[in-house]
Symmetry: C2
Subunit: 174 residues, 2 copies
């Protein structure tokens, strides 16, 4: 089983402003970035996201994910009708999530959302980290990385630089 | 006048552990990294560092800087004898520092240390940002970037990848 993070961050390490706004990030979307994401998603079986990301994505004009999505939440009790059949609400610790998804036959998992990423990282479950850095400081917001009690070493696999100044680095857990 | 930052950081954005330790960083030093630093220093006239960095560097076996060093401190009253003639203690806001160094004929300034970098960034005085990322999370420590109240946009100039997995990105203020 392989757990991947694929995310954009500001130069100062934020994945969103405090209100969830990603205006500073989306204005860098272009064909190169879209192609990179499509390539990545092509090798993913399932997604795990948190409640914050889920609610953000539900506000989009259409549901963007073509893979089964598992939402980690203790407060959401029912899947909204608009995403029935596409979303499963689960309430588990990272280790249990992995057992659960493995039993269901999923082996390439994309995890997204600040809290979800941090909880999986903290327990050493992130195998692949693909981070794209936008050339701006936004000063404050939701951090990609959180407090951990031990060093976690990665191996640099490759770095791609895009026309618009975004830098995507791919790492694998050592 | 050009103000440059040239610094190493962990993947999660720290420039040192909370006690100042940079063991996780120095173990990546090699000939490529040394050459990059030498090239950078070759175009620098003077350095501005904070008290924390100064005290750290004073503990090294020998004084590593060949350029005039200005230490921003309100508490240090006298230059230690070992660095007499190499170091000047100043106590000024970033704007005053720039006036002061400009009057002295310096035009390419390297600023170093978390608090100094943050105070210059916050006032928009950083023209060049060269950040080298180590492929490790260290979980906690002294942050490179701090709270700012406005976005600051940079232009990506180039990114170099080193044999040992370090990724150096160079940015200029827009």
């Amino acid at each position: 089983m392989k757990i991947s993070v694929y995310i954009g961050k500001s130069l100062d390490g934020f994945i969103a402003r405090n209100d969830g706004n990603i205006d500073w990030l989306v204005r860098f979307e272009n064909d190169e970035i879209a192609r990179s994401y499509t390539e990545f998603i092509g090798r993913i079986d399932a997604m795990v996201i948190g409640r914050g990301t889920f609610e953000k994505v539900l506000s989009f004009p259409s549901w963007p994910y073509e893979r089964p999505v598992f939402v980690l939440s203790t407060s959401i009790k029912k899947v909204p009708d608009v995403v029935a059949g596409k979303v499963t609400i689960i309430s588990m610790a990272p280790k249990e999530v992995l057992h659960y998804l493995s039993k269901k036959g999923f082996s390439n998992i994309y995890i997204d959302g600040g809290k979800v990423i941090q909880s999986f990282l903290r327990e050493g479950y992130v195998d692949e980290l693909i981070v794209t850095t936008v050339p701006s400081l936004i000063g404050k917001g939701i951090s990609l990385f959180g407090d951990i009690n031990t060093d976690i070493e990665f191996r640099h696999i490759k770095t791609d630089v895009y026309r618009n100044g975004l830098v995507k680095s791919q790492y694998e857990k050592k």
